[in-house]
Assembly symmetry: C2
Homo-oligomer: 140 residues x 2
């Protein structure tokens, strides 16, 4: 049996995709925009990833799930990569991101209030009068 735990197992793009649940094409995209590093290539020009790339990609995906933009992810990675990152710097990014998340929640809640109160007035009948349309058409 080759490839037991002695040698460093290389991963191809598809392997990395499967391990992380990331879309195959997205990996290449992340490389293009510089959030994933250009990996070494095999003699046949295939990308050769290792465990470190799995970690990096998982980091990116987790940050994206938390709603950080790719620009923000780049900032976070720069701090991590720089090795000089301090808790204070990272906290700053997270706090300002948190503020924008809260703003979005407030916006959506406002929308939710308007929509639900409007829908509540609907008869749901086969009649052409509709409070939703009225609300949208309103000349107020």
């Amino acid at each position: 049996m080759k490839n037991h735990h002695r040698s460093v197992k290389i991963l191809r793009r598809g392997d990395l995709a499967k391990l992380t649940g990331c879309n195959l094409e997205t990996i290449r995209y992340y490389e293009n925009i510089g959030v994933m590093p250009e990996p070494p290539r095999t003699s046949k020009n295939y990308r050769a990833y290792d465990e470190s790339h799995v970690g990096r990609l998982r980091f990116i995906m987790r940050a994206r799930e938390l709603g950080f933009t790719l620009d923000e992810v780049r900032d976070l990675l720069a701090l991590v990569d720089g090795g000089v990152q301090t808790c204070g710097e990272v906290q700053g990014l997270a706090i300002s991101h948190l503020a924008s998340v809260r703003a979005k929640i407030d916006d959506l809640k406002r929308i939710e209030r308007v929509l639900s109160s409007t829908v509540a007035q609907c008869t749901g009948d086969d009649v052409p009068e509709c409070p939703v349309i009225d609300a949208l058409t309103e000349v107020t």
Copy 2:
């Protein structure tokens, strides 16, 4: 004085933009994608809008503010334009949209919880240990 209330005053694109607060280019965009009708043109090929276009554009803008996608707006307009729209049909669209708004709120709230509890653990010091980075790097 010409153009007192007797004749129908025509509006140019810039007028429509000013009246509604819509961006000038966005009006053309809405025409291209078919949510605004192609207006008649003057002899010099200028778009000639009237009051009905103001109403239509305001409708679109209000729906967008409420988070309806342009596809959903198209559906709403089709119901209104068809003349056969019933309160029930419109209510259906609004309800399903409401559901997606609520889902988005829930997502963001989850993110908010994770972020705020993580940030709360930060010391904010000039040290390289950072709970935010830990949360992102976590191998759990």
